[in-house]
């Protein structure tokens, strides 16, 4: 039902859609007696909705609407990865270094807000990291949604994975220095962290006033994805989950790896799969959770996860495959 409809059917449906009466014709095709049975009617409604959704998706009509989304599960959780940063442009390992979004990244944030607005999503509360690329992404998206007034909680627990001694190094140079395999291992291993940041590095977090209240033994000097999850999970349980249980619609604006951590927690993605999971930048990822905070698979959901991205599916697919090629040396 949610698979792409083939070209002939699409042409027929387009004609129907243009006459504005396709749903009615489907309904009329069902014998009247059938229509009167409540269960049959519900099934029929589901068919019509799925039909329209499939049609909508195939025709590239942006996005599920909140009414469709909210017919699944109980709680809304939206994840948003910040867009292009200044160091993305320079192809440098960033981690905890507090670089800004680029002009393009800012535009991605505005667009994300637009997509949520078009889906008629409303939000009650937001969480983000201590890093300005995520905070600015959040603020720009909220502004687009006319929701700048909602409470925002910032936490270093949602920061990007701390990249240790690789922070500041150009990705291609690192590949030349250590070899593609070692770099790939550091980038995509589940439990192997990069080398710890050097004591005299200008990027050492103890030099950064925003981390002055973190006890020295908790301040990371390098993180693997596993270690990132170790500090994201308790924060999710203590701070985010209670808001969801109160019925609040939550937006989390964060980073590739802190979001991978959340997705792994939510969908129980296996370790070997989560490392390669690309969460595209600037695309709102909508989850609906049941009362036990387990995700309910949404129509059009991406591979391995229950959440669905907002936006034209071709555009989303393009974004998902776009992230993979950063370490390739020309």
């Amino acid at each position: 039902m949610f698979k792409q409809v083939d070209a002939k059917v699409k042409a027929a449906l387009t004609r129907e859609l243009n006459t504005g009466s396709h749903a009615i014709k489907v309904l009329m095709a069902v014998p009247k007696a059938e229509q009167e049975k409540p269960r049959a009617r519900r099934r029929l409604a589901a068919v019509v909705i799925a039909f329209s959704v499939a049609l909508g998706i195939r025709l590239g009509i942006a996005t599920l609407d909140v009414s469709t989304i909210e017919s699944y599960g109980t709680h809304t959780l939206v994840l948003l990865r910040h867009g292009e940063s200044e160091w993305n442009l320079e192809n440098r390992f960033t981690g905890w270094v507090d670089v800004d979004v680029s002009a393009k990244g800012a535009e991605e944030a505005v667009n994300a807000g637009r997509l949520m607005h078009e889906a008629n999503l409303s939000l009650d509360i937001a969480f983000t990291s201590y890093q300005k690329r995520a905070i600015k992404t959040l603020n720009l998206a909220l502004e687009e949604l006319d929701a700048l007034w909602i409470p925002v909680t910032k936490s270093w627990k949602l920061n990007e994975r701390m990249y240790g001694d690789l922070q500041g190094l150009n990705k291609a140079e690192t590949t030349n220095k250590f070899g593609e395999e070692q770099v790939t291992e550091w980038r995509r291993s589940y439990a192997v962290p990069p080398p710890p940041i050097k004591e005299d590095s200008p990027y050492h977090p103890r030099l950064d006033p925003k981390y002055k209240n973190i006890p020295k033994n908790k301040l990371p000097l390098a993180e693997s994805l596993a270690l990132t999850i170790d500090r994201v999970l308790p924060f999710f349980r203590q701070s985010i989950a209670p808001e969801l249980r109160k019925g609040k619609k939550v937006l989390i604006a964060a980073h590739g790896n802190s979001l991978r951590a959340l997705v792994k927690i939510l969908d129980n993605v296996p370790e070997d799969k989560i490392v390669g999971l690309n969460i595209p930048t600037g695309v709102p990822l909508v989850y609906r959770l049941n009362r036990q905070l387990k995700p309910v698979p949404l129509p059009g959901h991406a591979d391995l996860i229950s959440g669905t991205y907002l936006g034209d599916p071709d555009w989303v697919q393009g974004k998902i495959s776009g992230v993979k090629n950063q370490a390739k040396v020309r």
Binding site: E143, L148, W149, P209
Partner: protein
């Protein structure tokens, strides 16, 4: 052991309706380009002064929220926890909301408008609930107790709803010796400054708070303000950061918005 605290106010800069010279109140207009610049400027002054903010407070209105965010960003402190409350909103301008300031003077006379703008306890006429500008239509106020949602306010009313928030949310931070940044509006700032400076009911409506320029208070362990030699009349304790001449000129400019002819 009680600690010294620092309290910094920043009134948001020029908004789109300042430019259009329209009474704004609770309407959620954006900052103009100039206003955006004023917010950044405020942050630069905070940075130059070496102020390290622990917590920020702002209203539900984007012109203040954006001022807060831009100032914090310019001061390299965007990560600071920020609390938003409708209680720090601008005074609600009732039936004057959306009206052109000079036209209103022509219609009602300068004296009447001056009363509505600068009286302590005479509010403008109430705004009807079916008016498109009434806050009852906005999602941001859905959680408010209906009796808290104003149809109009005089400065006295504004003070009455600001001060509970001051007590419950801001005072505890100051008592803990924190450096607190409040990015808000002319009248919500007047409410708190009135109390700190001990300014009378008849003087406070005329106190002009320049936009963008941070106003800094040092408070002792009992939250008593410490006098500053840099304070500008009628303030005894608060000092503005930045150029003194510019500050005087900015205060005059706000006064001149209802001058006709």
């Amino acid at each position: 052991m009680s600690k010294k605290a620092t309290l910094i106010f920043s009134r948001h800069g020029e908004s789109e309706w300042n430019v259009a010279n329209i009474f704004t109140g609770w309407v959620d207009v954006d900052l103009s380009e100039k206003g955006l610049g004023e917010a950044k400027g405020a942050g630069e002054l905070l940075k130059a002064e070496g102020l390290k903010i622990d917590v920020a407070f702002t209203s539900y209105l984007k012109r203040a929220i954006k001022t807060c965010n831009l100032a914090l960003e310019a001061a390299d402190q965007l990560y600071v926890p920020t609390n938003k409350s409708w209680r720090l909103n601008e005074r609600m301008y009732g039936g004057l909301t959306g009206l052109d300031k000079k036209e209103t003077v022509v219609k009602h006379g300068a004296e009447q408008v001056q009363i509505w703008r600068r009286s302590f306890d005479i509010p403008p006429p109430a705004l009807e609930k079916d008016n498109k500008y009434h806050p009852c239509h906005e999602a941001k106020y859905k959680a408010l107790d209906p009796k808290d949602l104003p149809d109009t306010e005089c400065l006295k009313d504004t003070i009455a709803r600001v001060m509970p928030y001051w007590e419950e949310a801001i005072v505890p931070e100051l008592k803990a010796g924190k450096t607190v940044f409040v990015a808000a509006h002319g009248n919500s700032i007047r409410a708190i400054v009135k109390m700190i400076e001990g300014i009378s009911d008849d003087v406070i409506p005329g106190l002009e708070i320049p936009t963008g320029t941070p106003l800094v208070y040092e408070l002792d362990g009992d939250l008593k303000p410490i006098a500053s030699p840099l304070a500008v009349e009628p303030l005894k304790f608060g000092r503005y950061l930045g150029d003194a001449e510019k500050i005087k000129a900015a205060a005059e400019a706000v006064k001149n918005q209802t001058k006709v002819g």
